[in-house]
């Protein structure tokens, strides 16, 4: 999914799920969400959407809507290409990742 996007990889020892993050460089909830993943040592890929070209932003927006039926908000986390969460809510991300106690 979104293979054409210039994702950067954050290495981590937890690799049980394929985790993608759509973020903005300017958004504090994005920063907190990615900090959460790093603190859990979760491997993930992320892209800063505000750095993309307008053409790529449009393509991403359309693909996201086609797949999930909603607009991508920031941050968005996509897990195993099927589950997603809009905005960083620790409990919701934890549940989607299967990390709930």
């Amino acid at each position: 999914m979104f293979e054409w996007l210039p994702f950067e990889k954050q290495e981590g020892s937890w690799k049980e799920k394929d985790v993608l993050v759509l973020a903005l460089t300017t958004c504090a909830f994005c920063t907190r969400g990615m900090e959460y993943l790093r603190n859990k040592d979760i491997e993930f890929q992320y892209v800063y959407v505000d750095k993309l070209s307008p053409q790529d932003k449009k393509k991403l927006s359309e693909e996201f809507k086609d797949k999930f039926g909603q607009r991508a908000l920031f941050p968005s986390i996509i897990i195993d290409e099927s589950d997603f969460q809009l905005g960083f809510i620790e409990k919701a991300w934890s549940k989607s990742l299967g990390l709930e106690d």
Binding site: L24, T25, T26, C27, A28, F29, T31, R32, V49, D50, P54, K57, K58, L60, S61, E62, R71, L73, F74, L86, G87, F88, I89
Partner: protein
């Protein structure tokens, strides 16, 4: 002022003046505040105005007037949720509660987005 000359202190001053004008509180968490102030500074340097740091849009002053910080939607959001979309501005009541802001529903209409 040349947008490139704005400093982080200028942005934090702007945030506090805006909050004072509308009787809002500013998020107390220093890191979260700094992250949002840095985001506003980035957008000011990019676009020449305070585009909301939590949304992606045109970067055009006319099209994005509604999301120029403090955004048009912050008034209703603070009324309903006690916080703006970014969690930067809070109602006095919310601030006193000690709760941390959370993501809230996007109030900007779909047709306002470029993509």
């Amino acid at each position: 002022m040349n947008p490139q000359e704005k400093t982080l202190d200028d942005i934090i001053d702007f945030i506090h003046r805006a909050a004072h004008q509308y009787n809002w509180a500013v998020i107390q968490d220093r890191q979260f505040l700094n992250d949002l102030a840095e985001g506003l500074l980035t957008n000011y340097r990019r676009f020449g105005f305070f585009q909301c740091p939590c949304r992606d849009s045109y970067g055009d002053r006319e099209y994005d007037r509604d999301i120029m910080c403090p955004c048009t939607y912050s008034f209703e959001d603070i009324e309903e949720y006690g916080q703006c979309y970014c969690g930067l501005f809070l109602s006095e009541k919310f601030a006193a509660s000690g709760e941390f802001p959370v993501p809230i529903p996007e109030r900007r209409p779909e047709e306002k987005f470029p993509y």
